[in-house]
Point group: C2
Chain length 482, copies 2
């Protein structure tokens, strides 16, 4: 108990003292984990009566700092972890919700893959917004079609053709409120109890959770530098009858690996032969730093086996909440129905503005600009990480995307390494959270989406400091105030 002092000589009751102590720790955000210690263990450590702890917890609950779950324990309320103005992304949020990742404002943020505001094309988008208001007036605030504002679907059809050389009709497109909603409504309309879904291992944990919540059985297939392990995939196809394979073709999260053309072909053949669909989650294809422009799997699919989910959050602006899905015709109607029951439709106003933004041709300039910016950050990070290889770290160079996937020395547990970094003011993501099993304990994901050059250099210095000393794993005792 390092920060709460109980003084029996005060007239203030002990439980009030305890209440105030925990309360101020919560307010200072000093508690890393969401669950308070059990009443028994805390009363034992503090040498107080059970009732003192019970009363303190009750008061905390009354005051809205914690809540209790019957049979499970007492939990700190979340608003402390949700930090206004913080740059967050899907992955971070997920981690914070699961209580694993307390991000503090002061630390260097290698955890976030989200772009920072200075990269947002605000002037152009503002122009589009105002033009829409002047052009459409009240019409902009009606319900649009469930499947999305028709002109935007046309613009996106054009976008797909120009960028990925793929013809998709506007009627085959469904606009979503971001990529996560794409996943959600696909799960809702297509995933049923008992379905078998293959995922890359490691993978995006929110997708995994979304499938699991619908009662699907998830099988992880290892991913290699050029894509999923085809041998393992084939073996698993023989053993199970998959309904879907969920994959991220380019700059996979968290590994940063991209699929070779050959593997893409093999996957489409396997999907055709064995009658399953591929759910392709694409949020980074546009962010290549070399001259080898990548394309999504759907560009190669002639057999109608790909369910394609596109997010613009990482390559445009997360707050616009626009993405889209395109999928085989026979599945489209069900997914549109799921979209309707989810939120009727995405904001027509933002759809109109994004449509105008695309039509005015602002996209190309924007994507070239962020490619340049991130390419520089990427190179800086790689250059500064290279000397750390002498401590036994390894990493793949994806030449695109927003992250690096680092293998720490075998003896280093990623959660412990993460904790040491956080203590020194550096946030990153411990790889463990991406694996659907315990296959690896020593990977971390470093992202350069939300940091400037100085921070990249400082952050890697912090890592070097930790790596250069003999590393002591601490085990699982994470409760900092006990």
């Amino acid at each position: 108990m390092n920060r709460i002092i109980l003084d029996r000589n005060l007239s203030k009751p002990l439980y009030i003292q305890l209440y105030e102590g925990i309360k101020s720790l919560i307010e200072e955000n000093a508690l890393e984990y969401e669950k308070l210690p059990s009443i028994r263990s805390l009363s034992k450590k503090l040498l107080v009566n059970n009732v003192t702890v019970i009363n303190a917890y009750k008061l905390l609950e009354q005051e809205g700092y914690v809540y209790s779950v019957e049979g499970s324990g007492t939990y700190i309320k979340k608003s402390n972890f949700i930090d206004e103005g913080q740059i967050l992304d899907d992955g971070d949020m997920d981690l914070m919700l699961s209580g694993i990742l307390p991000i503090s404002k002061e630390s260097i943020n290698f955890a976030s893959v989200s772009p920072t505001p200075e990269l947002f094309p605000i002037e152009e988008f503002k122009k589009a917004l105002i033009d829409v208001l002047n052009r459409d007036g009240g019409l902009a605030f009606l319900y649009p079609e469930i499947n999305g504002y028709e002109p935007l679907r046309e613009s996106i059809s054009k976008f797909v053709y120009e960028n990925y050389k793929t013809k998709i009709l506007s009627d085959q497109i469904l606009i979503t409120s971001g990529g996560q909603q794409g996943l959600d409504i696909i799960s809702k309309s297509l995933v049923n109890q008992g379905d078998i879904i293959f995922v890359e291992n490691p993978t995006y944990s929110a997708a995994f959770e979304s499938f699991k919540s619908r009662g699907a059985k998830i099988i992880g297939i290892p991913i290699e530098e050029n894509g999923i392990d085809i041998e393992s995939l084939s073996a698993n196809i023989k053993r199970y009858k998959p309904k879907f394979l969920y994959m991220m073709t380019n700059y996979q999260s968290p590994t940063t690996y991209s699929y070779s053309e050959e593997k893409k072909k093999k996957i489409l053949n396997l999907a055709k032969e064995n009658d399953f669909y591929v759910i392709e989650d694409d949020f980074l294809t546009d962010l290549y730093f070399d001259n080898y422009k990548k394309t999504p799997l759907i560009s190669m699919d002639k057999g109608g086996k790909t369910i394609y989910i596109k997010s613009f959050s990482k390559v445009f602006m997360p707050g616009v909440r626009i993405g889209f899905i395109t999928l085989p015709d026979q599945l489209l109607k069900g997914v549109i129905k799921a979209k309707h029951s989810t939120d009727i439709s995405s904001s027509g106003f933002l759809q109109r503005a994004f449509d105008l933004y695309l039509r005015e041709g602002y996209w190309k300039k924007h994507i070239e600009h962020i490619r340049q910016v991130y390419s520089n950050k990427y190179k800086l990070m790689v250059n500064h990480l290279n000397p750390l290889k002498k401590y036994g770290i390894q990493f793949y160079e994806p030449n695109g995307g927003l992250s690096l996937w680092i293998r720490l020395p075998e003896e280093t547990d990623s959660l412990d390494f993460y904790n040491s970094c956080v203590e020194s003011g550096l946030s990153l993501v411990p790889g463990k959270v991406f694996f659907i099993d315990d296959s690896y304990h020593n990977f971390i994901r470093l992202s350069f989406g939300a940091v400037n050059d100085d921070e990249i250099i400082k952050g890697i210095n912090i890592m070097e400091n930790i790596l250069s000393k003999p590393f002591k794993n601490k085990g699982n005792d994470y409760m900092p105030f006990i």
Copy 2:
């Protein structure tokens, strides 16, 4: 069988001929109802083998035209009914999706409860949008907190206090992308297989569907002019153990009834005694036309039993897609998590603009304006409907909301009446779609949300024309190609 011709002399198999015939009827949108005839009845009518029909239906299913529901039959898939540019609302969409309500653009629209663009406070909202862009720049396009932009939650806390005299902390509020999303994430996080949910009968069909899709068992309780039938509610509580009661306290849809203070108290007591929650769906409370200002159930709830869902779509602008939820602390965390897995967060930009709109005090002026406008339309509709009572119609006068709930003469089936109206250029909603059983066949809902004064008069003239003639029900043989 007026349009499908089967020719036994062709080399083309009969089942393929049948498949093609039905397919083209579906494509031409020539089938009014969603269910295909049973295999037995169709094979009998066509003088073909059962297997011919089975194979044709199978092929239609494979090709994505129909789907079969075990134990129920074969249904036509929906997309034919989604009509670009149409002014739609939740209810309409639902009906169209269920294939019941083909709305044509030219007709007078008594079906929609959505406001029309000329009532939108565009100038003020535009000012708020531009002020946010100037004030916040790129920050406006970051991910906001999952539970919503903190200042907006504060503004809403203030809104609830000023309008409903109820104190709710900003941390107890979760911003959603409209009311439907509130329903969706509550279902997702709180409704499980086998849960028993009580609903008012008749009720909002999309809510019903949302609960049912999570495996809940739905029990309908009759609703009366001053709220749900408490006797029936109590009897059902004894028989079942409900987890939730879903209700619309003010201007219920479709009945337009509002709860008396006494019934509200009784419901809260029953909820406390029997340990269930009330899901209160509020989209019209603010639209009273008399001096008796209504308040939602949550204003009276001191026991933490109400899950309150607020939609601004009907009283502000549907395209902004902003609503909120507030609910007991112990449920909040799960619902925030469900929100995150649904779409990460609602657009931060629109949240900031709506916050500024509320802070600048525009709301009061707006709501007073639309109250005035709708009050006039309401009176006009009531005045023109009164003379039709001589044909045996009855209706309640809610003095608020956006609809009237009309009881047609006993011998008139609402679907047949609806069809006659549509033929004469008037859309409305047949009451049958709101009942969870067959209790009533002769109600219709007339809404004045999307019509002007002329249309109200013309629409009622159309109704009078139909009512003044002896009405011939067509019975239940709706399948036009048999």
